[in-house]
Point group: C2
Chain length 344, copies 2
C-alpha cells in the first residue's frame, strides 16, 4: 500500500470518530455537525485522502445514469422532451434521474450536487429562468461528466446544445397569415429576455420584411407569455387601434386562447376578419373554438437527440478523445386549423 493510500479508517482513528461518521462527513450529510465536517475535511486534505478503490472502479464501470434537470414537468413541451429522453435512454440501457428546478437557480445547483453524488455519467439540462452563472455545469465538465443543454441554453458555457428553430417557426407562422392575404399582422410577444421570445419576434419581423410589409410598433404587444388573461388584454388593446389588425401571431398558444376570447367577445369573425395563430401546439390548441393553428416543436425528437449526443460524449470522454461541441437547431412545422383556414 503506498503512503497515499489513506483509508477512511485512518481518518476515523486519528479523530476518534466512527468510520461511517467520516464517510457521512465527506459526503456532506446533514446529520454530521459542521465542526466535525470541518475537521474531517481538513485531515482528509492533509493526508491526501483519495476515495477508495471500489468507488473509483464503480465510476470507471459507469453508473449508466443520466441526470436530467428541467424547469417544470407539468408543461407540454418539457414533458414531451422527457418522454423522448426516457424512451431513448431505456433502449440504450441507461437510467434517467430527474429533477425539476421550478425555475430556481438554487434548486438547480442542488440538483447538480445531488446528481454528482449518485455518480451520473452525464447531464442534460434546460436552464432555469434565473440561471446566469453556470460554474456548476463547468465543474461537471472538468470532472469528465458531459453536459448537454437543451432549449434553455446560454453562451456562458462551451457544450453541445439542442434548440428548436424559433426564428423559423415564427417565420412560417407569419408567412402563413400573409399567404392567406392578411397584411396587417400583429404579434403578441413576451418579455424579451429569453432567447426563444427574441427569436420569435425576429422571425415575425423577417417574414413581414421579406414580403414588403411594414413593421408597426403599435401592432407588437408585450404580455406574460403564460397567461390567457394577458393575451386577452393585449388583444383588446389591438382591437382598440384605429386600424385593427387582420391577423395575430401569438408567441404562445395560451396567449392565443385569450386572443380568440377577446375577438369573439367583440363579435369579430375568426379567421375571416382576424386570423389567429399560436406557437407550441399544446393540447389546448385543438380544443379551443375555433381550433387554433399553431407551430409544432420537435420536443420528443429533441429529447431523443439529447440522449444520442450525450451517450456519444460519454464514450468519447471515456476514450479520452476530443469532443467538438455543436449547437443543433431543429425545425418546427406548421399545423393549420380553423383559426386561420376556416371550416373545411
Amino acid at each position: 500500500m503506498s503512503k497515499h493510500n489513506i483509508r477512511l479508517k485512518d481518518i476515523a482513528e486519528e479523530l476518534g470518530i466512527s468510520i461511517p461518521s467520516v464517510s457521512r462527513a465527506l459526503n456532506n450529510k446533514p446529520d454530521i455537525g459542521k465542526e466535525t465536517k470541518r475537521k474531517v475535511f481538513e485531515l482528509a486534505k492533509k493526508l491526501n485522502y483519495q476515495p477508495n478503490q471500489f468507488a473509483i472502479n464503480f465510476k470507471n464501470q459507469q453508473s449508466f445514469i443520466i441526470g436530467v434537470i428541467i424547469p417544470q414537468i407539468v408543461h407540454h413541451f418539457f414533458s414531451n422532451v422527457i418522454s423522448g429522453i426516457i424512451n431513448e435512454a431505456e433502449k440504450r440501457g441507461y437510467n434517467i434521474m430527474l429533477f425539476q428546478s421550478n425555475e430556481s437557480f438554487e434548486s438547480e445547483l442542488k440538483g447538480v450536487e445531488t446528481f454528482q453524488k449518485s455518480m451520473i455519467d452525464g447531464l442534460i439540462i434546460s436552464l432555469s429562468d434565473n440561471t446566469q452563472k453556470v460554474d456548476h455545469l463547468k465543474y461537471l465538465q472538468e470532472h469528465n461528466v458531459p453536459v448537454i443543454l437543451i432549449d434553455r441554453i446560454t453562451n456562458e458555457i462551451d457544450a453541445a446544445k439542442i434548440i428548436c428553430d424559433d426564428y423559423q417557426g415564427a417565420y412560417i407562422a407569419t408567412e402563413h397569415l400573409i399567404n392567406l392575404g392578411k397584411n396587417k399582422i400583429a404579434h403578441i410577444t413576451g418579455s424579451l429576455t429569453p432567447h426563444t421570445t427574441k427569436e420569435r419576434l425576429r422571425g415575425y419581423e423577417a417574414a413581414l420584411k421579406n414580403h414588403h410589409l411594414k413593421i408597426h410598433e403599435r401592432y407588437i404587444k408585450q404580455c406574460n407569455l403564460e397567461s390567457r388573461e394577458e393575451g386577452y388584454k393585449a388583444t383588446l388593446a389591438l382591437l382598440a387601434e384605429k386600424e385593427i389588425p387582420d391577423g395575430i401571431f401569438c408567441a404562445t398558444d395560451i396567449n392565443a386562447v385569450g386572443a380568440i376570447e377577446a375577438i369573439k367577445e367583440k363579435g369579430i369573425k375568426i379567421p375571416e376578419d382576424i386570423a389567429v395563430i399560436g406557437f407550441s401546439d399544446w393540447e389546448m390548441a385543438s380544443v379551443v373554438d375555433p381550433p387554433l393553428s399553431s407551430v409544432s416543436q420537435p420536443d420528443y425528437e429533441m429529447g431523443k437527440k439529447a440522449i444520442e449526443l450525450i451517450i456519444e460524449e460519454i464514450q468519447l470522454t471515456r476514450e479520452n478523445k476530443p469532443i467538438k461541441y455543436e449547437t443543433l437547431v431543429m425545425e418546427t412545422s406548421l399545423i393549420m386549423r380553423e383559426s386561420t383556414i376556416g371550416k373545411k
Copy 2:
C-alpha cells in the same frame, strides 16, 4: 477472511478472465458473451460468492434514490403526480429515477430490473394497463426494497397504495347536476376493466339512487376514454334518444370536449338544455367553449404523499420494524364552470 468471503479476483483467476469481465458478467452487461456469463454465474453460485463489502456498505448507507415507474409522462395527471414526487423528494434529500412503461408490462419489468441495479431504496409505481402479475414487485419487497402503488393499483400485492376517490368524485359531479335541477342525467363511460372507470360509474349510479332518480341503461354510453371523437359520437347517440338527457357526466374531460362539440353542433344550449361535466380538470377544461366544469384530482398531493410514505417504509425496513400496509384514498373536489352553471 472466512471461506465464504470469495472475491471477484478468485472467480477471475479460476476462469482465466479479467476482474472487470467478471464484474460485468455478474451485472449482466451486454458486452459480455452469453457463455462467459453462464460460466461466471455458475462458479459464483458454486463458490457462494457474496457481493463485496463495499457494495454492501454502500447499500447499507442507502442510495437515496427512489425509483418511479409510470405509464406515461405526457399526461396531465401523471405529470402532476411526478411533480409532487420530485419536489417532496428534493426536500428530503432523495433523488428520483424515472421510467415510463408506455403501458407495456415488458417495459415495466425492464424498469424494475435496471432500477434494482442502481440500488434504489424504494419504488413508487403506477401499473401499466397490461400488468397482471406483480412478481417483479414482490421480488423487490423480498429484498427489502419497499414498493408503493399509486393510482393504478392491484389486489395481487400486499403493499401501501394511494388512490384518489373516483367514486366520491363521480358522486359529487352527478349530484351537482341534480342540484341544478337536472333529472335525466346521462353518463359517458369507458371500458369497465380499470378500477377508476368502474368507480366513476358506481358513484354516478349511487348519486342518482340517493336522489330517487332512475338509472336508465340507454343513458349510459361506453366509449374510448382518451378520445374526443368517441365522446362526440357517444353524445350524438344520446341526442338521438326519444327523450334526450338534460345533463351528461363524462368520465374524462376529453370525452366532455367531444360532447360539447356535438351538443353545440345540434344548436342545443349548454347548460340551459344540457349541462356537461367532465372528470380530471385537465388544462383543456378551462379552454373549451363553454369552459367545462370538472372534478379535480389531488394529483400533486398524491405524489407528495407517496414520498412521505415510502421514506417512512424505508426507515422501518432498515430498523427491521413491522410495516402495516394501508390504502390511502384521497378526496377530489368539484370545479364549477360555465358548462354547468352558465355565465356569471
